[in-house]
Amino acid sequence: MSAPNKSYDPVEVEALKPEVVEAARDEALAAFAAATSLDELKQAKVAHTGDRSALSLANREIGALPPHAKAAAGKLIGQARGAVNQALAKRQGELEAERDARVLVEEAVDVTLPYDRTPRGARHPLTTLAERIEDTFVAMGYQVAEGPEVEAEWLNFDALNLGPDHPARSMQDTFFVRAPDGSADSGVVLRTQTSPVQARTLLDRKPPVYVVCPGRVYRTDELDATHTPVFRQVEGLAVDEGITFADLKGTIEQLVSTLIGDGLELRWRPSYFPFTEPSAEIDLQCFVCRGESVGNPDRPCRTCGSEGWIELGGCGVVNPRVLVACGVDPDRYSGFAFGLGLERILMNRHNVADMRDMVEGDVRFTLPFGMEI
């Protein structure tokens, strides 16, 4: 590029002569019009509007002109470049439209080809069901507590008002751990219920205590369609001043509403557990037949066995003797506790016919449940 020079005559600059500029413009317009694809147009664009195109080179010469000549030359080049850019944009639009109409169609693939290259995983529905129940209680303000599966007999039974000769002790078929001397008197069992976590919690924390305890428990049942020797419970415990049976009812109703839905009747049946008094079994109205299968052999219900009710679990007001054994003042505090069998809830909530499917680990059973239920 030349330096500005007052004596420099624009007319003498070849590239800025109007006929040369117009020729360059026309050449560009022709090249754009001749482009038949976006690629060709891109090449024409580089050739006619790029740094080394005739119009760009001409534009640079303007800087060297004396001030009085700059305006006219600038106008000349500006008009030419404007026309070129306009033609380019127009042709670009035309060719893109054509591509959209033709080329993209030609590029079509079969999107229905199965594309399942990422392996699928899933969490076990009993795990996620326990979490859902935990979350319901955590939202109410409860803590989640855990305890060991191999448990001291004292915590599994004695502390829960099940003395050594209590008839209920033989109701729960217990796995006993062998003592160091080979005898059965180790004082250690596979816990038959999650209730020892209640005792542990009360020994561990001062009231008010609001905890929910999920976990595996063990009984010497053979595996069949409705029993498994290793199963899961969720235990809940509230110990505070002024806790009553009414609080228990409200809490269970809230859980059922969250877990299963509204509009189903609950039946509270008096029952017996040594660690609660009064004790109740909670039955939920069968949500499949809503009780209409009862005494109606034409419409049997597999879900409830035509009983109309589904057992959810047991509960009650904590027996003051349990509070005493755990060092809690029964004159000041009272509590409620409940225990729910997760397998049964899963069977009912998700129409699982056979409990064996939950324990055998067949991936075809677990996969549909995904990450949460």
Binding site: W154, G250, V294
Partner: protein, 833 residues
């Protein structure tokens, strides 16, 4: 307890239209667990009548005996003529009264009856067996009725074939409901109807000339009533009504005396025992067993007795295991096998529940009697029960009740419970009021006095009522749980899940997200599980917590590793045709402590001491939480897009990294060596910056793979989650993100094949210094160019400064420093240098 509705109605005048289901519903709401309501003879339809066998012609030429009979069925067939019937049974004779079903009837099944041609004759109906009538599966023989019934009499009514039976699972606190009397009491309360108490009988007072009984252990036996009946007709049989009631209640009729004791037990709840008086040698003594004594019980088993066993004895020694089972030597004799019993002693006693429970458990002899004594029997029912049995023996067997009445009773303190009248209100969270509380307690048989504070004496049949809360429960139960209001407690604000709980969830989500499917396996293992893994005989993992009573004798131990269960699940899946598998499990393992101890049994009337609590925990094994994965088949599937890749050791290690990432822990991987992993393909997983080994991952040893029947190259990982997160949660500081350009430099290093890539990378990182932003191994190459026993590792290094654009010289200098460190630490040679 099986309760026939027809029998229950004898004590409570239930509304006529009330069905078994209706009654069950009421009882359920009062706290009795009615498991089933059985419809007996629901599909039965007559005519079913008494018939008299007039003639029997034995047909020959058939494979089995066949009889052609003429039977008088009175007017039941409409004509009064004898009925022609072909029958395959032979246990009846001409003149016997039998049960005949006529054409048009329907037997349980349902099994419609029609006249038909068979064995060359017409058979217009059937002579019935007990099984065909749904009276029990005991025998196939024809029912032969007592001779007094008239031909043509309706047998449905006679045999009480149509009924409903409520099967009630009695909870341990309600021993009194193991009787018709107890269930009737609950039914009466539920319907608000009066109860006709079968134990309200006139009983003569005790006197001094009853059978001689000595109770040497009044703690074990606080009541012993004995009565004697003589002159019994040994051939007398239980009448049909009695047999039917026993059958419906689930007890098999045996002989009249035994049937009567069983019947009274069902009726009143008092277990009775009948001795053949002529076989009892001298006075009866109740005492504990002496060393070396034995007793042959009614079931024919000779039992060695323990010093704790409570016995009934005579001069010959033990003649019964008190409250559990009688002895064979004084058993009522079967008249079919010789001279039958003509004189009996009826025992109605009350034994200590604990002594009976332990005895039944020790001898593995749970009996109808022990079941009741364990749960508590009404000690005041003994006299009435004995009287009832005596009455029945006199009435049915033609016996004579002797005047002697033995009744030995240890003094029974009157139990009085003091209860605040508003306790039920406070427990339930509602307002019943004192009047309701008093009325409900009276309904269950308590006597009640007082105002704001009530003095309550529970009835003798409710030994379970011992404290005020027991009484509160009764009131709330009878008022109905459905009538307790529902309300929510005010829970103080919670803190949500703990870090450990959140970590456990994240681990599950991470693995499932990475394509693993969760399984839950039983924790039971045996020697074979460890043998299959190929563990050495002295491997620590063979030392298990062992069960006394395992489900399967071959698997008495609890797992010390998740692998046996997990690999079992893998094999099960493969066996079912699921071939490309990635599964995981989280759960506890059970590791016995070095020093084994026995857990104490502290008292329960107070909080245990700190030492006692420590001793409880010391007796438990370590129970850390683990996670494990197993993989087989293709990890990434082949498909139309091209070839996939087989699952292998690297996937197992990657799973460990996914777990560690979810736990917020950085993991170092070292070469490891632990069975059941392949010795050359096993990684030891270490928490970065520590020496804490948290697990292993890699390909399984080919021997283990073979022993377990798994596909070749099966891979697995197991890691201890508690150890992994032992340092607690680390709070991540947000890194400064530099906006200056990156300078990328590649470097290829040749090292000995045995040098771990992790060491080379660590050296490069250390040498490159702060400017290094990231490092990635993008190729591993072996071959002639790099030389035998050598490998080439190609890395891409990304350099960036926080405060300036790096010059080419700076980046190169950092790369050279990185290489120099790798050369120094690992003997690497720069490729192409």
């Amino acid at each position: 307890m099986r309760v026939p509705l027809s029998w229950l109605r004898e004590y409570v005048d239930l509304p006529a239209g009330e069905t078994g289901r209706d009654v069950a519903e009421r009882l359920v709401r009062a706290g009795l667990e009615v498991e089933t309501v059985e419809q007996i003879g629901g599909d039965l339809k007559g005519p079913l009548v008494v018939g008299e066998v007039l003639s029997i012609e034995e047909l020959t030429g058939f494979k089995k005996p066949i009889r052609h009979c003429w039977v008088n069925v009175g007017e039941a067939n409409g004509t009064g003529d004898p009925q022609e019937i072909v029958c395959g049974a032979t246990n009846f004779a001409v003149g016997d009264k039998v049960v005949v079903v006529l054409p048009g009837a329907v037997l349980p099944g349902p099994f419609p009856i029609a006249a038909r041609q068979t064995y060359g004759h017409t058979s217009a109906g059937m002579i019935c067996s007990a099984r065909e009538l749904g009276m029990g599966d005991d025998h196939d023989g024809i029912i032969v009725l007592p001779p007094e019934y008239e031909p043509g009499t309706d047998a449905i009514e006679l045999l009480q074939l149509v009924d409903e039976v409520l099967d009630i699972a009695v909870t341990p606190d309600r021993g009194y409901c193991l009787s018709m009397r107890g269930v009737a009491r609950e039914a009466a309360a539920a319907y608000g109807l009066p109860l006709a108490d079968p134990a309200l009988l006139d009983v003569p007072p005790a006197n001094s000339f009853g059978y001689l009984v000595k109770v040497n252990d009044p703690a074990g036996c606080d009541r012993f009533v004995a009565r004697t009946v003589v002159g019994i007709d040994p051939a007398a049989k239980s009448p049909i009504w009695l047999q039917r009631r026993l059958q419906k209640a689930g007890i098999r009729p045996i002989s009249l005396a035994v049937d009567i004791t069983n019947y009274v037990m069902l009726e009143v709840g008092q277990p009775l025992h009948a001795y053949d008086k002529q076989r009892v040698d001298g006075p009866i003594t109740v005492r504990r067993a002496e060393p070396g004594e034995s007793l042959t019980t009614l079931d024919g088993v000779k039992r060695t007795l323990s010093a704790e066993d409570l016995l009934i004895c005579d001069n010959s020694g033990p003649i019964g295991l008190a409250g559990v089972m009688g002895g064979a030597s004084t058993e009522i004799l079967d008249p079919a096998a010789g001279p039958g019993t003509t004189e009996v002693i009826i025992e109605a006693a009350h034994f200590d529940p604990v002594a009976i429970a332990r005895g039944a458990k020790r001898h593995k002899l749970p009996s109808e009697a022990s079941k009741r004594f364990e749960r508590g029997v009404d000690p005041e029912a003994a006299r009435a029960a004995a009287q009832r049995a005596v009455d029945l023996l006199v009435l049915i067997a033609g016996g004579t009740a002797e005047a002697g009445v033995t009744d030995i009773a240890a003094p029974h303190p009157v139990r009085t419970i003091t209860i605040a009248a508003d306790l039920p209100d406070r427990v339930a969270g509602t307002g019943y009021g004192r009047e309701t509380v008093t009325r409900r307690l009276q309904e269950i048989g308590c006597s009640v006095s007082g105002a704001d504070v009530l003095e309550v004496t529970p009835p003798t049949w409710r030994p379970d009522l011992t404290d005020p809360y027991d009484l509160a429960e009764e009131v709330i139960r009878l008022e109905g749980y459905d009538n307790v209001p529902a309300r929510m407690p005010t829970v103080p604000p919670g803190k949500g899940l703990t870090e450990a709980q959140r970590t456990h969830r994240r681990v599950g989500v991470a693995l499932a997200g990475a394509g693993f499917v969760e399984v839950n396996n039983y924790p039971f293992v045996g020697e074979a599980s460890f043998d299959a893994l190929g563990l050495e005989p002295d491997d620590r993992r063979r030392r298990t917590v062992t069960l006394v009573n395992p489900l399967n004798d071959e698997e008495p131990g609890l797992r010390t590793t998740l692998l046996p269960g997990l690999l079992g699940a893998l094999r099960r899946n493969i066996g079912r045709g699921n071939t490309d598998l990635a599964i995981f499990e989280t759960g506890t393992v059970f590791l016995p402590k070095d020093e084994l101890s026995v857990a104490p049994r502290p008292a329960v009337d107070r909080r245990p001491s700190a030492e006692e609590l420590a001793a409880l925990d010391a007796a438990l094994p370590h129970q850390p939480r683990r996670v494990a994965v197993a993989l087989a088949g293709e990890r990434l599937p082949s498909g139309w897009w091209g070839k996939g890749s087989a699952a292998g050791w690297a996937d197992a290690i990657e799973a460990a990294r996914a777990v560690a990432r979810a736990a917020g822990v950085e993991l170092d991987v070292r070469r490891g060596q632990l069975l059941p992993w392949h010795p050359g393909r096993c990684a030891e997983l270490v928490v970065a910056g520590t020496d804490r080994v948290v697990g292993h991952a890699g390909e399984l040893h080919p021997r283990a793979v073979k022993a377990l029947g798994l596909p070749e190259r099966t891979a697995a990982m197991e890691l201890d989650l508690d150890l992994l997160s032992a340092d607690g949660a680390v709070r991540v500081d947000g890194p400064p993100v530099s906006g200056f350009p990156v300078a990328t430099q590649d470097v290829a290093l040749i090292v000995d094949a045995a040098v771990p890539a992790a060491e080379v990378e660590a050296a490069l990182r250390a040498g490159a210094g702060e400017l290094l932003e990231a490092i990635r191994l993008f190729d591993v190459f072996t071959g002639e160019q790099v030389g035998e026993g050598r490998k080439s590792l190609a890395y891409a290094l990304r350099f960036r400064a926080a405060d300036r654009t790096l010059t080419a010289d700076e980046a190169s200098a950092a790369r050279e420093a990185a290489v120099a460190e790798a050369v120094a630490r690992t003997g690497a040679v720069l490729r192409g240098a």
